[in-house]
Symmetry: C4
Amino acid sequence: MERLLQSCRIQSQLVRECLAEFLGLYIAVLIGSGAAAQVITSQGTHGSYLTMQLGSALGAVFGIFVARGVSGAQLNVVWSMSLWLLGRQPWRKVPLYALSHLLGAFLGAATVYLQYYGKISTVFISFLSFPLMNIGGHLSVAGPNATAGIFCSYPADHLSVWGGIVDQVVATALLLICCLAVEDRRQGLLPDGLAPVLVGALILTIGLSMGSNCGFPLNPARDLGPRLFTFIAGWGEEVFKAGGGWWWVPIVAPFVGGLLGTLIYELLIEVHHPHTPQSPGQESEAVELEEVVVDSGNNR
Amino acid sequence: MERLLQSCRIQSQLVRECLAEFLGLYIAVLIGSGAAAQVITSQGTHGSYLTMQLGSALGAVFGIFVARGVSGAQLNVVWSMSLWLLGRQPWRKVPLYALSHLLGAFLGAATVYLQYYGKISTVFISFLSFPLMNIGGHLSVAGPNATAGIFCSYPADHLSVWGGIVDQVVATALLLICCLAVEDRRQGLLPDGLAPVLVGALILTIGLSMGSNCGFPLNPARDLGPRLFTFIAGWGEEVFKAGGGWWWVPIVAPFVGGLLGTLIYELLIEVHHPHTPQSPGQESEAVELEEVVVDSGNNR
Amino acid sequence: MERLLQSCRIQSQLVRECLAEFLGLYIAVLIGSGAAAQVITSQGTHGSYLTMQLGSALGAVFGIFVARGVSGAQLNVVWSMSLWLLGRQPWRKVPLYALSHLLGAFLGAATVYLQYYGKISTVFISFLSFPLMNIGGHLSVAGPNATAGIFCSYPADHLSVWGGIVDQVVATALLLICCLAVEDRRQGLLPDGLAPVLVGALILTIGLSMGSNCGFPLNPARDLGPRLFTFIAGWGEEVFKAGGGWWWVPIVAPFVGGLLGTLIYELLIEVHHPHTPQSPGQESEAVELEEVVVDSGNNR
Amino acid sequence: MERLLQSCRIQSQLVRECLAEFLGLYIAVLIGSGAAAQVITSQGTHGSYLTMQLGSALGAVFGIFVARGVSGAQLNVVWSMSLWLLGRQPWRKVPLYALSHLLGAFLGAATVYLQYYGKISTVFISFLSFPLMNIGGHLSVAGPNATAGIFCSYPADHLSVWGGIVDQVVATALLLICCLAVEDRRQGLLPDGLAPVLVGALILTIGLSMGSNCGFPLNPARDLGPRLFTFIAGWGEEVFKAGGGWWWVPIVAPFVGGLLGTLIYELLIEVHHPHTPQSPGQESEAVELEEVVVDSGNNR
């Protein structure tokens, strides 16, 4: 079997990275949307608002563990953009990763639909009102649309478009500030494997403190991919019309927020780190731990 | 006392490993089924759906901590099979471990029954309907059967056999992909003790996002052992007849899912890791940390 | 100020250890009973069954962090006994630690009473029935006694004395098996600070899977100290009469369970670890990490 | 872009530290008050008491991660005072950090208000009674004031001023004892990144066991900053008059508790650590791990 697998080997570093990003976001969506599906289809008997957020968080954790040794597990095109702006990766990677994310999120949503098909297709066809629906659906649409919130974000009734933009800009800025801080080696050298867990905790944090306005999409591809799936799978045009044409907000606003968050962290913290003479000995001492990891993925 | 204990020493590595696998799954079932028993017998006053899933997760964590230094704490025959397919252990271990698991799960269920005997025997004999029962029981059977879901998995009413197979194949594939990623040293060298915690988080994740269809058995021996116990202990033939003869699904489907998950991770991630010249110095540097652990169990 | 503090310095290692054990259990009870007080006095609006168990778990975690560098933070006389039986500490420490624990638990309960005095004294004097009371009180006693369950354990109505003994023997055996596994260096060398967190997770685990019968006391001094406080503070003789004279069960049964758990772990796992020639170099390599810690407390 | 950022570089170590403390507490309040806002404005459908406490805890965690490499992330003037009393930092830092905290907390509250403006301004203007309000509001004030508890602390109805002082003294003493224990290198050398997580767990712990009396402010600037914001933003004088002029208690009591906690930890644990000859070799071995971190922030 090992020999069979070896024959499928791909040499290109970029293709490998796109495969890893694809699988990483596939897993994140499979877990995250699955947790929402479980709570919504069981009408709250097999979970709660907290378990949905835990699902999103743990989905991110395992998505990162699957891809981190190959591509660094960026999993969000806003994060890819920020790394490019800071000169830490070439711009070519940004669109390619975004495409991989889109495909991964699309197929992740499809798998969740397959797994919950029995419940969604029989129970929710003519299901009219449900207290948890305003997590991400809109109550006025009967039938299938009431479960659209499993897959992608919809604004709460009270939220204006400007309110949604503010919400997403603040939330994505927070995400980027904290991710940059966790990744900043001048702040401290985390033991391997702690950073993914912290990013998961960050997703949970945002879900618990900024999730009620529009379900904290934060990630353009993670929101658009499943929305395209629901468009095809039977929810129809409504997924783009709902919330006053909401669909473009989680695509545009996170980029603005990501830029803002990057600027805030750089201007308040990172640029002020004292210059180091960059003697090779001193540097290698500092990065010893992580280098092994990076090595194992890239240079060997 | 120390001398007395020393006289019981066993030299055979394989027997030691089977004892460890036995104790590991015994503890996992004692905790996991105990958490379900607490919620179900207290009718939700001493726990909730989330605490049941936390119980399964923490049961796995401590089951792994008990056995990891001796046998690696596989605790699931699907994982043993995957390691054999990848050429990482001899096939002989797979059936022997499976038998140890079966015995551990059987006795774990028996201990839970003993601990909750007072409540189960007095309160639930003629207990007819209970909102949490569809976690793993089926509501139509009165009396003792309504507590059978404490010990092993039963499908929800809406689930067809094909639906159950799909659910278990997806869930076990997810389990294997993430376990392979966590164990993959090319992804990064986790500090000792983090991997068991991550596997526990993975069990929690699956419980929160794929637990409502049939209670995420994932593990043939962990499901069959307690089912045999309930068969003997008074629930009778119904444990095999329930759910349209459901009992074989959690035995067969996880193997299919495990194979699928192994293939996906290998084809998308692991085979593409660049070849390393395997110079002994480089390799030993990379595995330094874990080797100490493995050493302490096996070679000394 | 520093000079003032230095004048209070105690040289005796044993007195230092007893002070640390005292403060450790004081903090564990202050947090653990505080979490129960918050849920019970707020009648569930400021917490739930899960938050009470989290309180017990986090109380143990911080109790251990306060004392671990001085005495190893045993915090439970059953664990002290087990370490003595395994020849890892002199017997003299066992009763001295137990007295420190008793005093710490007594004062911890007193502090919780002080903090919640306003609520307990005004609201609960004539409070008659409350759904969460059977966590650890008994419903038939009106008034103050209905809050006695904040401080120490009482059996649920359905539990016989033998049932309670079985419950506590199983739970304490589980506690000891897992603690011995976490502390067993042959299983792996945990990074410093992970073991206390795992012990806290273990307390949470036992609370979630074995907490509904009698509130998982597990620890003789932690149960007796607060019971003595409630006896003095106004709950009266009832704290010893309740549950058919329940008070001695959480004192005796944990010792039996502790012995059983120690035997199980030793016979199934630890005695079978292969002999090592104990070359000093090899040994020192294995314990390098923890030695530093122990050193800093004892030998410097 | 990198060059543009570099032109904003600040050389002064003290200004850098104040910026980091500002951003750290800004993030802690943004997350912590956001979690309260989500639960209160959604009337419990998008969270629970537990998620609010998790929000406070995770806010502290990420606030610390943002600032720890620059200023050590003190984030609480009581902790700054304690470090000064123990001779670990000059007194000049205490008021400067306090001002930074005040500004960060004020702006954090303003951002939460902006994010939840839609919901607060439309739904809660004439909202009269709400079961969760007594978390930190006072029920007698109609309209906007019922949401004041999102931003800062108010006592529960049953709490006297003396009760509140006792509550805050005990809670802050517990905070300081545990923080000193976690930071005490003689207790053990935690891996980098674990201490912030433990401090977050400590905040959660205090929230779960001492949160129902007055919402565990613990931190003078974190309470006063948002209170000033609500004073300006439309809640008016009532924020200072409420609870019988409660506002000064969370400013004064934490200092008393902080002093008490510092004394308890020093007198029971730290002063008794055996003297070490302080040979440079031995010392440097012990602090190796953390030194790298401190270095990266300060000395390079």
